[in-house]
């Protein structure tokens, strides 16, 4: 028996796998057993009704995809009344993702979604198709700190802050979020990117640019998790390009306490359940009794002397 349970601070999960925001909804029950997940996580909600960006909203690229959905949603009132009860039909603890373009409104939203049944908040300050003044606060340490500070004062729920891989120095942003009171960091949102159709000479996406996800981004985000875990003491949720159990192991070794899966569910809709099962099997084979022991267990005491390293065989 492998103990798959993990904790993100006080937030407890029966296993480390949860969906990434925007890639999951209760509608996934059409194809999977949602109760198998470590947690459920909503699409990012905004205060107002939003239509989102003009289509096409997705473009296939090597080893992944670019999206420019643009955070559509029916607004916070509809969310509280209809969507929360829909999520609460399932047993995994519910995390609500919120966003705003105004710091104070971010805090007000956090207060409004702090309702029974919601177990944590994810603060999306990193939607890549928004600019720094449009809620993409994670590009700057001071903006990040300001949002987190106000949200911290507005709710007692654990706050997970979703960082942007598009920030110049993500480690300093991570530190700013920790100092301002974040309980955990989700690393990370999508990478700003583009595709141009060589037949039509036009951008493949309606919004011209979008956020890239899928296996292509995993080495980049993994490096960020590794660097951030050396710099902060709060837990990290790894997110980017996970498609198999070994990817979860890699993220945990790098310092993640839990992970989020997005793209993989588009390719294989029951991927998250398969990953959980494979992870258990992987731990069992390796004789690892507690998956939580993998967190930060990377053995990175590498030989620093090039001559000595190069003298050894492979």
């Amino acid at each position: 028996m492998v103990d798959l349970s993990v904790k993100i601070g006080s937030f407890e999960m029966t296993n480390p796998v949860m969906p990434a925001s925007g890639t999951f909804s209760p509608e996934m029950e059409q194809v999977m057993d949602i109760n198998r997940l470590g947690a459920t996580l909503t699409k990012t909600i905004s205060r107002e009704l939003r239509d989102g960006n003009p289509p096409p909203r997705v473009a296939e690229v090597e080893c992944g995809m670019i999206n420019c959905i643009g955070l559509p949603g029916k607004g916070i009132e509809y969310f509280l009344e209809n969507q929360i009860p829909d999520y609460l039909r399932f047993s995994p603890p519910l995390i609500v993702s919120i966003t705003s373009t105004i710091h104070e409104d971010f805090a007000a939203m956090a207060r409004e979604v702090t309702v029974p049944g919601v177990k944590a908040l994810e603060i999306n300050i990193s939607c890549p198709t928004r600019d720094p003044n449009g809620g993409n606060f994670a590009l700057h340490a001071d903006e990040t700190a300001e949002t987190v500070r106000l949200v911290r004062a507005a709710t007692d729920l654990p706050i997970f802050v979703k960082l942007s891989p598009n920030a110049g120095d993500i480690v300093s942003i991570a530190r700013a979020a920790e100092e301002a009171g974040a309980d955990a960091l989700t690393v990370a949102n999508t990478i700003l990117s583009m595709r141009i159709d060589t037949h039509s000479f036009r951008p493949s996406l309606g919004h011209k640019v979008g956020g890239m996800s899928g296996p292509a981004v995993k080495p980049i985000i993994l490096r960020m998790v590794y660097q951030i875990s050396k710099a902060v003491s709060i837990p990290i949720i790894g997110c980017g390009g996970i498609v198999k159990a070994e990817d979860v192991v890699e993220y945990m070794l790098a310092g993640a306490s839990a992970v989020q899966v997005g793209y993989a569910s588009f390719r294989n809709p029951t991927a998250m359940v398969s990953i959980i099962e494979d992870l258990e099997e992987w731990c069992d084979k390796r004789g690892i009794a507690r998956v939580a022991d993998l967190t930060g267990a990377v053995q990175d005491d590498m030989e620093t002397d090039t001559y000595i390293a190069a003298a050894a065989g492979i």
């Binding site: 080893c63 559509p72 993989a264 029951t270």
Partner: protein, 289 residues
Amino acid sequence: MESTVFAARPHVVGTENTVDQAPAAPVEEILTTVLANDSINDEYKHLIVTASPKALTAKPGQFFHWLCPSPDEGDLWLRRPQSIYVVDKERQRLEFLYKCVGRGTNGAATLKPGDTFNMVGPLGVGFSMEPGWKNVVVLGRGVGLATLAPISQLIAENGIGATVILSARSPDLAMSGDLFEKAGAEVITVTDTDGTSAVENVEAIIEQRVADNRADAFFTCGSNRLFMLMKRLGKKHNVPGQVAMEQIMACGLGPCYVCVRTFEIDGVKTLKRVCIEGPVFDMQEAMGW
């Protein structure tokens, strides 16, 4: 355990690995076996695969989301939606009719009998027939002919008469006529080569059916021009209609909001997801095909 590239461990039809992760779920990821994949003309191929019991619950107008093999040295990263052409419950098979247009469909074209083919489905909301309808008019063109074809199963099951207008560039591209004829429908082929596909001619055919009281409902797919015509005539004569829509998809299941199209309901524009709120929609609400 071997290091697998992807997590997928789908329910596999006809092998020992038949562990269904969610027996109550109506949709599943299945590995089908290809039985045939032949060209029926220069542009279209006809795929026949084995089907699981869940897959066989597919209704006309629903679709499957294909994980196509690559046609080249690279790989494919998103699925491709394809509507169901025939659900053959007796022989436990699914049939598809698809046009080879890009990497996904050209990859599917490389499938040979015996190959396994991964698909997710059945997905979406299909066509429906209301009790009381005695005669309907079906109008399609291009890929739309594949999507509309299973209406032949619906009219046969419900004992409904139909006028089916197949529009095509040339007679060899006018597919699905045989299925509708077997279901007892009147099939009219109109083509660009002999000029009969002109909107005025098609309009005259439909007007005649309305005048003869043989148009209780309209169905269309495959051409914006023909959609606009049917929508106009439906509004003029108060005939209800259904249209099968397309949009580029990612998840195919509802969460991602990639597949939205614009609809107008009571004068208010709104976006709906083709994969879960469609692909079949009310004709008067759709803004264009």
